[in-house]
Symmetry: C5
Subunit: 240 residues, 5 copies
């Protein structure tokens, strides 16, 4: 029915009661930086994939092997499920994507959902580095101010939040202030530090700066280059 | 079958015989201003959601909690169901949206449908502040002139009216004259005053001006800003 | 299956053996003018609606009540079913529309189909005011010349003609010469006069000129105005 | 399932073992000219229609009656089925169209498929007037050179050829050299002469030149005119 | 369900344990050149076709007969299945195409998947002529460096790689460095030489240069010419 499928190479009953974490390459790529760092530092095991109808035609070798656009990891020790989104789904698939993943999360009886996004630094008024938001069923509280009333949150993470609310799932959204124009490791470090506290982890943020730099320099440029080539090829050469 | 789902977290039999109210952010945002004011002032309880295939990726904290694009409220004392549309559905979903909601309204045996829209002030000829319209099954009458013959009503509210007519539901459409270019609280107040009479309420319209002002200033600007950013990001950064 | 539904609020068996009449707002709006005039003058009873997936978001008060885009009328005395199309369906729905209506017409065992269109005056060669066309199963003949061979007929009425031919229904197409650029009541009067003869009616055409004038002046302008406003609003204000 | 339907008003068992012939209005309109000439000269009986989801809204009176976009004829004496395509299907329906027709052709146990297209004269090197092509299951041979290796054949006829190959049907493709820019009766005559030999017919090609001329002059111009009018109307007048 | 069908004219059980090979006309057309050369040199038998919803309307005579866009070959002696993609599927069908073919490959119990693509020469840093990549289940190793970490691979071959990874199929991707702007036979020869080793073949690469040259000169130009004509025709002549 849905155009989004979640494929898991593991007994789903093991996942019951876990915490689900995800984020996207939106403002400052904070959600991506933080979740990728967490997956790598915690040596999480890849246990599955999200596959969509308009699946992105991109792959590469990452530290953990052949990367797919949307890889699902599991951390047995800390009982965490992490969805690492190497690229954004196409916008027309956002709702389907969020809906299907949140329904799956509910289906495996996850205890808690942690969503990592960012706020644009230019709209920062006070001193805090992070604001947050939660769904009606979430009992957690953070030592940071909540997101201001009527301040809009948009993008795929907003859809994850909406579906969590509708499905009566407890979800907490971390929104560090970030630089919109570049990969922002400081904001990702803020998110990691909050996650360390919430999840009782001790993930170092030292290498995050290097990672962000390399992602910014290498991957980003390649993507753009390849993308330009591809799209040029696409229009010039009809029958290739 | 339909791409629009109505999700209710309450026993539907309680809703039987209720009055259903809705409006949209069209001319002067009158329908939105009036329904939001009513929901907040009456401390209505959120009981459900409308979810669509091309669901808007927007959420925010409103006075009553985490807002979804289309929140359904219930007022037990006055037996009112209110659909609060924080944003317009995408136009290609308008008919599906109106059709699904009206069919649901009929299914729960609602007694009466009240639709709040507006007319463009520039076409005003007489002195009246409001005109109205009703479906064949509606027996109510207002102390205002009816909408002139052959004067077209367009937009999502027109579709609600059409489907109410087709489904033999009694529906009354309130159309205060409003300023098209800005959020118009005076027009919303006119609608509220008529609703007060019809529904035997005593909702004050004082704060409506403030609310309209804040909505106009804060929310509106943010929306536009965020929207611009989002769409800029969307075209520049293919692989984010 | 089909995206077009015919909804009838009457026992279908009463309709057996009736004559089905329709027309559209194409050249000179002749098909619309003539069918609306007939429905109003004969005081026909509205008995149903055609509803489509991409239903037009337009309603207004007409002489007979709240108008829907595609209203179905019945004239008991003369045993006529009339489909009054206040606006054109979207072009991508034309075939679905014609196909669904003609299949329904066949299903209720209609005896005869009368389709009212127009020919562009600029292509007129002889003296005649009207040409006509019929499907293979139609035995009627008119005292006017038939449409010239290989002269193309296009638009929604052509699709009604095609499906009538394919479904073995007798259908007669009336094509008075009309002015393409404006609402043409003279052409509509020509059609009404032929209908008067065929159906043994005595519908006066006097008021047709006034009606056409008012439709031309009032409705038309409003439509354009409202449409422009709507589409302007649609592009400027994304989140309304 | 398919968006293309073949409707036949005759017992299909009579068609078993027949030869199926078709062509399209592509290069020089050769396929159309030749098949129409054949249908008219042989006084074939129309026995059915191809109807598609995005059916063309065009009809006209042809020598044999009310023409539909895709008429199917039968020639009892020579046991021929002929599909006369008065207009091209929309490109997005080409594959569906070819697929559905070839599957139907296979289903009625046709013996042989003859496809009439054309080659652009400007690419002619030798003296021959026609080249040809056949599917793997076809045993016929013509006294003309075969199409050069790796010379591409494109368009709806290519899809008929592909599906005939895949369905293991014997199909022969006639490709006379033609003038791309105008209706080319000489090329159509070449095709008819080859068909006369293959099918043991004696269809005269004399009137073909007249027919082509009239088609070129009358029909063509009208089509363009009407099309321009229609599309102008379509953009100017939103609510007609 | 899927819009892509694999049609095989042979007992599928014969294919069990075979090696599956494919490539596309992307960078330097290397994947196409190498797979076509292999199919022709090994005199493989065509055993089937891939057919898609938006099937390309192109056919031509190749050395082995009437070519379809996506021909499937079998080499009994070496137990190889080869998918020869004469043209690229439309981009919106890429994922469906890769998904359907890989699922079919898994279904017939293929032992090994070999994918032939290319890397853009301009990004070459070292001396090697080829880099490679493999899925988690592949045990092979080549005497060439693996693709650098985080270097993106895009296009239809990336989707074949992704689905092979997800379906737990062993797949090896050969990526010789190639000239993006022209048909590059040297890169294709590199791929063939690696295939010779892996599959214990002795396919000569001598004629590859000629083939590439002819493909470059003849086919390519024709394609472009015909394509231009076709698309010009498509816009100018609506009713043909």
């Amino acid at each position: 029915m849905s155009n989004v499928k979640i494929i898991i190479k593991k007994d789903l009953s093991n996942l019951q009661g876990a915490t689900f974490i995800t984020g996207f390459r939106t403002i400052g790529e904070v959600g991506y930086l933080a979740t990728r760092h967490l997956a790598l530092k915690r040596n999480m095991e890849r246990i599955g994939y999200v596959v969509t109808k308009y699946y992105r035609d991109v792959t590469f070798l990452d530290e953990y092997g052949l990367a797919t656009p949307f890889d699902i990891f599991y951390d047995k020790e800390k009982h965490l499920i992490l969805l690492l989104n190497h690229i954004l789904p196409f916008q027309r698939e956002w709702n389907d994507f969020a809906n299907a993943v949140i329904k799956w999360v509910k289906g495996v009886s996850v205890n808690n959902v942690l969503l990592i996004g960012a706020l644009d630094k230019r709209y920062k008024v006070g001193n805090e580095n992070l604001k947050w938001l939660k769904t009606s069923k979430c009992n957690m509280n953070l030592d940071y101010p909540q997101l201001d009333k009527q301040l809009l949150m948009v993008g795929p993470l907003a859809l994850f939040t909406l579906h969590a609310e509708i499905e009566d799932l407890p979800a907490l959204v971390l929104l560090p202030y970030a630089d919109r124009e570049r990969t922002d490791p400081v904001a990702a470090a803020t998110a990691i530090e909050v996650l360390n506290k919430i999840l009782n982890l001790s993930v170092s943020v030292n290498e995050l700066y290097e990672e962000a730099k390399r992602i910014e320099e290498d991957l980003q440029k390649q993507m753009e280059l390849l993308q330009r080539e591809l799209s040029r090829g696409g229009t010039d050469r009809v029958y290739m």
